[in-house]
Amino acid sequence: MQILLVDDDLTLSPLTKEYLEAKGYTVTLRHSGDEGLNAFKSGNYDGCILDVKMPMKDGFSLAEDIRKISPDMPILFLTGAIQKEERIRGLALGADDYITKPFSMEELFLRVRNTLKRSANQQKQADKSVHQIGQYRFDVATRELYGGPEMIKLTAIEAKLLQLFCESDNGIIRRDIALQRIWGDEDMLKGRSLNVYVSKLRTFLSEDPAIEILNVHGEGYQMVVREST
């Protein structure tokens, strides 16, 4: 499993990385919020460990940016003696856990393991889910779309895109975030591919006139399912 560790403590953080690697994780270490965000954008991580207090971009700001790209990414914060306000801010950002410095490596490992296990279980549940989209029924696990003249077996990318629409707020997905979550980068060529996949979904869902996938200028796309009257 891949972990992104962002901590500006040059003495402790290499030892943290080594300890977790000895436990079987692959750890990418960065020493600032900006470097951490770049690493996150170019990697494929199962979880993040972020130091709260770092110069320039702190751990909370970094977590906000990570959540925009990957809302369900497990995040564990490293912190000094934490103030109530900080704890509330972290919880508001959906912190999965906190660990206070000085921490024992064993405790860190156990918290990371538990957090990742919880997240994996939630992901399994999500992958088992079935979404109702107008007259259609989309089974995430099998990538099967029912409700048209015949069942359509979606490709992995088509299914991932449709899942993003189903799980997003108001059916809106930002273009950059869709590219990140499907292909792991924001490459222009992949952007063109995204347009193609959106067109394919429009075709697959075209039997139900209540369903539309709209272009949202400067933002991305929105899947709208109007209530039938």
Binding site: L12, G80, S104, M105
Partner: protein, 91 residues
């Protein structure tokens, strides 16, 4: 001032890791302390607070709680007056 590595070994898991921590700390301490003093002298409060934060964390690992408490005060209120006479130039 002597370093208490017993607590460090229990936190980091092995004597080898503790030894490496101590070596890095000893190596970086003079430079970081100088940076802290300079930031306080220049009234660069943000930099002083960040440097104090970093040093504080390392002192806590080494059980240097008196120093860590002073550093915590500097981190919270860098623009107050602080007694740095307890800080050894080297470990």
């Amino acid at each position: 001032m002597t370093l208490n590595t017993e607590k460090l070994v229990s936190l980091l898991g092995t004597e080898e890791a503790a030894q490496r921590f101590v070596e890095m700390f000893q190596q970086q301490w003079p430079e970081q302390l100088a940076a802290l003093k300079q930031a306080l002298k220049d009234e660069d409060w943000e930099n002083a607070s960040n440097t104090a934060h970093s040093l504080k964390s390392q002192c806590r690992y080494l059980g240097l709680d008196n120093l860590a408490d002073i550093l915590q005060n500097i981190e919270n209120q860098p623009d107050s007056s602080h007694d740095l006479s307890l800080f050894p130039p080297v470990f």
